[in-house]
């Protein structure tokens, strides 16, 4: 299988995720679309790692997974805190940092 095919899938999924981040209004779904973009970038990293026969890309993809897990923990904590405080769970309504 040519490496280019994997890169094409990665590019398409990344673009779809970017569209989702722009259009979705529920912060939970914005986080989901961020996961799409991160997964697509991991796929590209692994494709290039295979292309060069070098394992550095694997370590980078592992770090991406760690960062994604941390982002999910904090992001979902913020969503729960928003819900508790009766602030609208809608990114279009969240314009102020001080509530």
């Amino acid at each position: 299988m040519d490496i280019g095919w994997y890169l094409a899938v990665s590019a398409i999924v990344f673009a779809i995720g970017a569209a989702g981040v722009i259009t979705r209004r529920n912060p939970l779904l914005v986080l989901l679309c961020l996961e799409l973009m991160l997964g697509a970038s991991s796929l590209a990293l692994l494709a290039f790692a295979k292309m060069h026969g070098n394992l550095d890309g694997h370590v980078f993809a592992l770090v991406v997974i760690v960062v994604a897990a941390a982002e999910v923990a904090v992001g979902l904590g913020i969503v729960v805190a928003l819900y508790r405080n009766k602030v609208a769970v809608d990114v279009d309504e969240l314009r102020e940092l001080h509530g």
């Binding site: 995720g17 209004r25 997964g39 991991s42 796929l43 295979k50 292309m51 997974i65 913020i78 508790r84």
Partner: protein, 233 residues
């Protein structure tokens, strides 16, 4: 065999990614992402990354998606509102994403990387095995490894601080005061404590809350008071 697996997993990955963006019910979007991540791990396997594929399934499908489902159920899983004032911007977003995809495609086709049209380097059977990656993590990438563990610690503490709920922050609850609270300045603590004491959130009443909640504070099973705004310390 590789081709068959790729053309099985690749289209599924793209279609379920579209599902995540298009489906209106957040729960279905989460399930679509689960299928997407599974097919992505299959692609990882095809790229000789067995360790990453297993980690992907364990971390994402096993842990992160469970977290999403729980938070989804907790927040109420209200449908993502379509239409509204953001309608024209949606087309703009579609155009932007098509532009991003086209840019990546041009970058791929015109990159001049000849190895893209090949199978990649010949790799041994233990390419991407846990042993090799672990050796790299503890030698060449020791600092990123330690930073990643520190990042996870900070994120875990931050998530607990953000999402915890101490008694007494909603009206009608009894407040247990710890000795440390007397030293803490006003406006600190969790979000509810910090905002509620200083500045009760204006305009939060008329927002799109699920029907199970009352706009004046407290869930249907929560507090009994009728006044919003956190209590003063």
């Amino acid at each position: 065999m590789n081709e068959a697996l790729f053309f099985f997993a690749g289209p599924i990955a793209v279609l379920t990614a579209l599902g995540v963006v298009v489906l209106r019910n957040p729960f279905y979007a989460v399930l679509s992402l689960v299928v997407h991540l599974l097919s992505l791990s299959l692609l990882f396997l095809l790229l000789y990354a067995p360790f990453l594929a297993v980690i992907q399934v364990m971390v994402y499908v096993g842990a992160v998606m469970v977290l999403y489902v729980f938070v989804n159920a907790y927040v109420g899983g209200a449908d993502d509102a379509g239409g509204g004032p953001g309608r024209p911007l949606r087309w703009l977003a579609g155009l932007i994403s098509i532009g991003v995809a086209a840019t990546f495609g041009i970058a791929l086709l015109g990159s001049g990387l000849t190895a893209i049209d090949s199978d990649g380097a010949e790799v041994g059977a233990d390419f991407g095995s846990p042993g090799q990656i672990g050796e790299l993590l503890l030698t060449k990438f020791l600092l990123p490894f330690e930073l990643a563990s520190f990042l996870l610690l900070v994120a875990a503490v931050g998530a607990v601080v953000l999402a915890r709920r101490r008694g007494g922050t909603l009206p009608g609850e009894t407040r247990m005061i710890a000795a440390l609270d007397l030293l803490a300045p006003t406006g600190t603590g969790s979000m509810r404590e910090g905002i509620g004491a200083i500045n009760p959130v204006p305009g939060a009443v008329n927002t799109k809350l699920p029907s199970g909640t009352r706009p004046d504070g407290g869930t249907a099973s929560g507090g009994t008071a009728s006044r919003d705004g956190g209590e003063d310390r």
